[in-house]
């Protein structure tokens, strides 16, 4: 009679060496297609990057790199200081994150944990509809409604970094809310039980257990939401005033007109002569944006934990 160990052993043997998979033609074609689509993504991204480099690199050779570190962006005078544009993008994005993240997370927690069923049934679809509003419509709304409001509050003009941040935050909110809520929902019921069973209140359970357990999902929600906002161009162009100057540091910083990198490319690309210095500088801005996005994504991966196996375990 076979011992327990022997049976286990045979089971393992069959598990590691299954009967050779039959690789018929159909199988090969399907595998080939899947491989091709996977590889094509890599190829396309590489090509885009190469294209960016080809068009943008002349900007770094035709003039000293220190030019880009300048504080003035005056293409007409061949002055291409990127600092004002960097400052503009940074200000608008950080502003949007500061507004959208706390608002989005608290809304998601309310929806997922505290809202009565009937209210959730109403709010959730509404938030999903919000996500579908074209960004230019939001920009328009900002221009018509928000900007006058901000001007009335005492700002020199309504078209400011803050106006842009508000619009971007609004754009990021639906994504942040619905993905965070999904992440909260995915937290196993056992965690809640475990926490409540040792005398924690509902809020303590949410704060100490559910949110940490949903951390990776929440980081993804924020990244996707903010990612949507960072790339946004036209709506921001409409409401930020488009003045390429470095805002004065201080409390009023958010209430000055600025111009972002994306808006600069969009506004000026149509007017430059192909191959000119100005043209390649605009592509150089594209390279800078590319690098920033890459850095932000790597940071996010690190925040999530980096080890995909762990991620499954924590969700």
């Amino acid at each position: 009679m076979a011992t327990y160990e022997e049976i286990e052993q045979t089971r393992e043997d069959t598990a590691v060496s299954p009967t050779p998979r039959r690789r018929n033609g159909r199988e090969l074609i399907i595998e080939g297609l899947i491989l091709a689509s996977g590889v094509s993504v890599i190829i396309i991204i590489t090509l885009i990057f190469l294209f960016l480099l080809k068009e943008g690199l002349p900007a770094f050779t035709s003039q000293p790199i220190s030019t880009f570190w300048g504080r003035r962006w005056y293409p007409i005078e061949e002055t291409y200081g990127l600092l004002p544009l960097l400052a503009g993008s940074l200000l608008v994005t950080v502003g949007a994150v500061v507004i959208a993240v706390p608002l989005g997370l608290t809304t998601a927690v309310y929806l997922g944990e505290f809202a009565p069923d009937w209210l959730r049934e109403i709010l959730k679809p509404l938030i999903e509809v919000l996500a579908g509003i074209p960004s230019i419509v939001l920009g328009f709304l900002g221009w018509v409604a928000l900007a006058p409001l901000i001007q009335n509050m005492g700002a020199p003009t309504g078209l400011t970094a803050f106006t842009g941040s508000l619009i971007l935050a609004y754009m990021a909110l639906p994504t942040i809310i619905s993905i965070t809520e999904d992440a909260l929902y995915a937290v196993p019921k056992e965690y809640r039980d475990g926490s409540l069973a040792i005398g924690a209140t509902h809020w303590q359970t949410v704060w100490r257990v559910v949110l940490p357990a949903a951390r990776s999902g929440i980081v993804i929600a924020i990244m996707l939401g903010v990612g949507r906002a960072i790339g946004e161009t036209m709506a921001v162009m409409l409401v930020t005033g488009n003045a390429a100057n470095i805002p004065e540091l201080g409390l009023g910083m958010m209430f000055q007109p600025i111009r972002t990198m994306t808006a600069t490319i969009a506004a000026e690309m149509g007017e430059v002569a192909q191959g000119s210095t100005h043209y390649s500088v605009l592509f150089a801005i594209g390279i800078v944006l590319f690098i920033i996005t890459f850095l932000v994504n790597s940071l996010a991966t690190r925040l999530i934990g980096g080890r995909p196996k762990q991620r499954g375990a924590q969700l």
């Binding site: 965690y191 039980d193 040792i198 005398g199 924690a200 209140t201 303590q204």
Partner: protein
């Protein structure tokens, strides 16, 4: 002797027509290990969850009857349910370490209860881990993530987590499910020590486990208690035909 828990005519239904518990009456004495056993869906876990009012979380459900804990009705208006759950701890079938280190898992409940003194926390952590027979294995890595423990260790961690609060009653809902025989016997052995200090109500993993660990037991079937008695009476000389059939393995 005054019962620690007195369950009086308790019925419970989930509101979908199915009655989960029907007219349950039981007295559980201090420092005994009381086992609720029976086939699946007989209402054991439902009854257990009523005892520390985790049943409050159910969106539906109607409860009738009274449950007295040291003579106090735990469903009475004004009961501090969070305090109740500190005094009546619970361990579940699936080990549920919380995100964080081993140390944080153990001090979580204590901090909720307002205990902040580092020395008290350290002392409770050490003692509860010893009681759950886990101390030797983890004493040098309390700062490690609780997810890094093995299944059996996680389960003993959960036991230690409720013991850290120094409850009066420990509810064990199938605490050895999914554990290997060695881990199971470690947990079972620690139960003998624990009942010196606590009162234990347990839903066992199997009928055999029920027979091994019980002081007294109740056989449940379809939301009703068929028979209650001391370990020997129930498993060796059952009175009811259904108990006899179940205990001797004719069904279930």
């Amino acid at each position: 002797m005054v019962p620690k828990l007195s369950i009086q005519n308790v019925s419970f239904d989930y509101g979908d027509g199915a009655t989960a518990l029907r007219n349950i009456s039981l007295d559980i004495m201090p420092h005994e290990l009381f086992v609720l056993f029976g086939p699946s869906r007989s209402g054991k876990s439902t009854l257990l969850r009523l005892l520390n009012r985790l049943s409050d979380l159910l969106p539906v459900g109607q409860m009738h009857g009274r449950i007295l804990f040291d003579g106090q009705d735990i469903f009475a208006r004004g009961t501090d349910v969070f305090d109740l759950r500190r005094r009546i701890g619970m361990v579940f079938a699936t080990p549920t370490p919380l995100p964080g280190s081993i140390y944080e898992n153990l001090t979580y409940g204590l901090k909720m209860a307002g205990i902040k003194d580092r020395r008290v926390l350290d002392e409770r952590v050490a003692r509860s881990l010893q009681q759950a027979a886990l101390w030797e294995e983890v004493k040098d890595r309390l700062a490690d993530s609780a997810f890094a423990l093995s299944g059996g260790q996680k389960q003993r961690l959960c036991l230690a987590r409720s013991l850290a609060l120094e409850p009066e009653i420990v509810l064990l809902d199938n605490p050895t499910s999914g554990l290997d025989p060695i881990s199971t016997s470690i947990v079972e052995e620690s139960l003998y020590e624990l009942k010196q200090q606590y009162t234990i109500v347990m839903v066992p993993h199997s009928m055999q486990q029920a027979a091994r660990v019980a002081d007294r037991a109740a056989f449940m079937l379809d939301g009703e208690i068929v028979e209650v008695g001391a370990q020997k009476d129930l498993f060796v000389y059952p009175q009811d035909k259904r108990t006899e059939d179940y205990v001797s393995g004719r069904f279930g």
